[in-house]
Amino acid sequence: MPVFKTPFNGYSVKFSPFYENRIAVATAQNFGILGNGRLHVLELSSNPSLPITELIAYDTADGVYDVTWSESHDSVVVAAVADGSVKLYDLALPPTSNPIRSFHEHTREVHSADYNPVRRDSFLSASWDDTVKLWTVDRPTSVRTFKEHAYCVYSAVWNPRHADVFASASGDCTLRIWDVREPGSTMILPAHDHEILSCDWNKYDECIIATASVDKSIKVWDVRSFRVPISVLNGHSYAVRKVKFSPHVRNLMVSCSYDMSVCVWDFMVEDALVSRYDHHTEFAVGVDMSVLVEGLIASTGWDELAYVWQHGTDPRAS
């Protein structure tokens, strides 16, 4: 399956919800520590033996840490930039008119962005300034700011079955569940003993959520009884950077880690690790599963490569 070489270190990859052959890759120069960033939009060929081509790329003055596709406009992407801004790009417009918006309210790096897949008119940004912000495309400022975390918020993700609910994962070792209509968080899960770097909701059960942590484990929780996790997935040998539930199979999830591997899990069986992919030669920090093509996985990492492959095949085989 195809590979794409990015000039900078990969940070995040997302499949378009509109086009099965389109992905966006967020990258940052010098491992995201210092320098510029670039947002790539890539097109997969229908023939897997052909290389991935670049549709367009946008440069930014600081690293791009995350990207999310609009659920309402097929050509719009939202980038989370390390200078604290959230930028909107419209691929349909000429490069000179992009970005079409740049929201600058966060006072520190923005580490994640997530578009509401249910109501499709808003998105979240999570930042190292400890806050999560809610934005709509039609307003010049954020609609609301959620500030309760005591340390960097690494990820904020909408519940895919509930338009008003989202979760945030933070370095203060808690996962918080929020309802945008409530003034404070509705649930606090002290989920790990170390920082939580990522979280994601199960697509088939609105009460199930997974957290990935520096303690190398992934935990799966039921928010109805969150004292004890449903499942603890061990297998990564370093901090787990991202976790994502499959859009197609209820119990399947994928994760990537600082141990440079991408793992696929079935959290309901005892031997939870389904497969491990060791194709990255540096930290694997971005992973996604296609909503439109079952089993299609994309990953990116600090080895400046973006891979797209079918689950069960070798990502390096071309």
Binding site: Y19, V143, E182
Partner: protein
């Protein structure tokens, strides 16, 4: 943009899980979703606060119903950059806002995991460099906290940067102080303090830089631990790390140390000792120094004659 794709327009294809219908069953602890747009829903709930900027002081004052598993470290960039004012007051601001030690010190997470093994190296980074920090009388940086973890020796570096900047500040007040009398018609309008502002920006960049590094290390504690362990093992394997280091320091101070004594003249045939004509000179020197007391070179010559 791409007219030949399967769907364009305002809605993506239905998600696989939407086709599957609801499966979570009763008991979901969420209020039923509201209708309308997100901004309307939020405004109707009375929680909207458009465009709120959260500064670090705000954040500290915010209600925190947290159930934290461990004390949270202060962030490296919490240095009151935003609201620094010119003049003496700024220094007070710096001093009071830097509370690094609370988090890591009491948390003990790093300290315990790196403790013994890294003691020596930690001392190298920590103790010397930061012990005399003018801002931290207590020497919180030094041996105790960051010293033992080693990795925050690196973290500490940005503080030395800050120190420089604050020193710069003090000087900056001088030139501007006298000249800028707003009522003096002969003075040009006060020009922006270009150099110091740009200096500030540079320092902000430095703080950002180390802030990001420290976050990365935060996110990847074990990898760093492994790296440091490997480095130490490497040094340890040569077995000479600390001895050589001590000798190097002594040499810097002008103290001559003992290994000079093995500097012998070679024997008459280039073979200092009999019986081992083909072995390297080094080995012989060392063995000779051990067996023969100093000043006994006559014996060596004597040995040679007995050959």
């Amino acid at each position: 943009m791409d007219p030949n794709s399967q769907s364009s327009g305002s809605n993506p294809p239905p998600k696989p899980w939407e086709r599957a219908g609801s499966s979570s069953g009763p008991g979901a602890p969420f209020k039923p979703p509201s209708g309308g747009s997100t901004s309307d829903v939020v405004e109707a709930s009375g929680t909207a606060k458009p465009g709120e900027i959260v500064t670090s002081t705000d954040r500290n004052a915010a209600i925190n119903r947290s159930t934290l598993a461990r004390p949270v470290p202060a962030r490296p960039w919490e240095q009151n950059y935003g609201n620094t004012s010119y003049g003496g007051g700024a220094l007070g601001g710096y001093g009071s806002s830097m509370n690094y030690n609370s988090g890591y010190g009491s948390g003990g997470m790093y300290g315990s995991s790196y403790g013994g093994g890294l003691g020596g190296v930690g001392g190298m980074y920590g103790g010397g460099m930061y012990g005399n920090s003018m801002y931290r009388g207590g020497g919180g940086y030094g041996g105790g906290l960051y010293g033992s973890s080693g990795m925050y020796g690196g973290g500490g570096m940005y503080n030395s940067g800050l120190g420089g900047q604050m020193g710069g500040y003090g000087m900056g007040v001088g030139p501007y102080g006298g000249d800028q009398d707003p009522n003096n018609p002969f003075n040009e309008p006060p020009s922006p303090p270009g150099f110091w502002i740009s200096m500030l920006r540079v320092m902000q960049g430095v703080v950002n830089f180390f802030g990001r590094i420290s976050i990365l290390i935060d996110q990847n504690t074990q990898a760093f631990h492994l790296f440091m362990t490997a480095m130490l093992q490497l040094f340890d394997r040569s077995g000479m790390l600390y001895g050589e280091l001590a000798r190097f320091v002594l040499r810097l101070l002008g103290v001559k140390t003992k290994p000079k004594k093995v500097n012998h003249p070679p024997g008459p045939n280039g073979h200092p000792f009999h019986g081992q004509p083909n072995s390297s000179g080094n080995v012989n020197y060392i063995e000779g120094a051990k067996t023969a007391p100093s000043g006994s070179w006559d014996n060596v010559w004597g040995n040679d004659t007995s050959e």
